[in-house]
């Protein structure tokens, strides 16, 4: 079994090393890659292979390499058993089930470019990650570890925030989930996990109490006026004000003017030549 599964995984590691990026780790074995370009699917292939032999690769926790590399990256022994801690470029392998290839090279499954491709063409189902409350399908540096997974078909918006997090929005929930792609240490990941938990709880509450359509962009057509209609609106508005004044001002004061050099109130009204000029155009 090792020989068969080992060979492609080694190739995956080599590919990933050339790609020189580590972005997303696979936590569970529910990642099905279809039509996926690049060499990012080897880890899942490994998982698929293992599943045919064992129930779950996680059951290999504690397996020690004797003649070959171990495939397991169990959570029991985080930093030592089976070289599980060498799974990624940095960080531990606690949540790296299925991600580690045979060698100690990084074994990302998705990288930035690939994510973009997936999200731009979700209908092609490059990745199908089920929404599984029993366990997350994808764990990005351990952030998504609260039973929430993104189905690509359910990705409404995907964007990067300025901190380098990938923001995926589930259309069904109307919630955007931040995915931290690159973690630095366990403490950071733990903090991220806590933050994510809080965020998720808030999101669930919002999803439950929000009215239908909440979180969705409503594209109501804007009422735009044409040039003449817009002009007419302004024209009528200033006309309304002047007419209101002419009607309101006491007739006894129509010849009132603050200083002798100024026009009277009535002259101002009668010298508002704007209408007459325009009419003659």
């Amino acid at each position: 079994m090792d020989r068969f599964t080992y060979a492609p995984v080694s190739a995956a590691a080599a590919n990933e090393f050339r790609h020189n990026e580590v972005d997303i780790s696979i936590r569970r074995m529910r990642l099905l890659l279809q039509q996926c370009s690049g060499g990012h699917d080897h880890a899942s292939l490994t998982v698929a292979t293992l599943r045919h032999v064992f129930l779950d690769p996680r059951t290999l926790t504690g397996m020690i390499s004797v003649y070959r590399e171990t495939f397991d990256r169990g959570v029991v022994f985080r930093c030592s058993v089976g070289n599980g801690d060498l799974t990624r470029t940095h960080g531990s392998s606690v949540f790296m089930d299925g991600a580690r290839p045979a060698d100690t090279d990084p074994a990302p499954v998705l990288r930035a470019g690939q994510l973009q491709k997936v999200t731009q063409h979700p209908q092609q189902r490059h990745i199908r990650v089920g929404f599984d409350l029993m366990g997350p399908a994808v764990d990005l540096e351990g952030v998504l570890s609260h039973g929430v997974a993104i189905d690509v078909r359910d990705c409404g918006k995907v964007r990067w925030d300025f901190l380098g997090s990938l923001i995926l929005q589930k259309k069904s929930l109307g919630i955007a989930f931040p995915y931290r792609l690159i973690g630095s240490n366990a403490q950071q990941k733990e903090q991220e996990a806590v933050n994510m938990e809080k965020f998720f709880v808030i999101g669930v509450v919002v999803a439950l109490v929000a009215p239908p359509g909440f979180g969705q962009t409503t594209s109501s057509p804007k009422q735009t006026l044409g040039p003449s209609a817009a002009l007419l609106s302004s024209w009528n508005e200033i006309g309304r004000k002047l007419i209101a004044m002419a009607e309101d001002f006491p007739e006894d004061n129509y010849d009132f003017k603050p200083t002798p050099a100024q026009r009277t109130f009535a002259e101002h009204c009668s010298t508002s030549r704007a209408p007459t000029i325009f009419i003659r155009m």
């Binding site: 044409g226 040039p227 003449s228 209609a229 002009l231 007419l232 302004s234 024209w235 009528n236 200033i238 006309g239 004000k241 002047l242 007419i243 209101a244 004044m245 002419a246 009607e247 309101d248 001002f249 006491p250 007739e251 004061n253 129509y254 010849d255 009132f256 003017k257 603050p258 009277t264 109130f265 009535a266 002259e267 101002h268 009204c269 009668s270 010298t271 508002s272 030549r273 704007a274 209408p275 007459t276 000029i277 325009f278 009419i279 003659r280 155009m281």
Partner: protein
């Protein structure tokens, strides 16, 4: 110029009717010109520049606004409150 002499509009009713008719005629002209007419090039009566008709029209609206502002001052100086700022019942 086109200034209408006070002698032609001796009463308040005459002044009010003049102002109303002026803006009503202007509104009718705008509708008649339509969107296409707004882009017609016209020569400013006073400035002499050739501008799109809508530019001239907005200039005239601004001019009317200047008159409106002065009349607001007249109201205040006379101890009155202009119609617009009054609290609406």
């Amino acid at each position: 110029m086109d200034d209408e002499s006070r002698e032609h509009y001796k009463t308040k009713a005459a002044v009010v009717a003049y102002v109303k008719k002026s803006f009503a005629d202007g509104a009718a002209a705008i509708k008649e010109k339509g969107d296409k007419g707004m882009l017609e090039m016209v020569v400013e009566p006073e400035g002499g520049r050739t501008v799109p008709l809508q530019d001239l029209a907005y200039g005239l609206i601004e001019h009317s606004g200047a008159h409106y502002g002065q009349l607001v001052v007249y109201y205040r100086v006379a101890g009155l409150v202009p119609p617009d700022p009054r609290p609406h019942k």
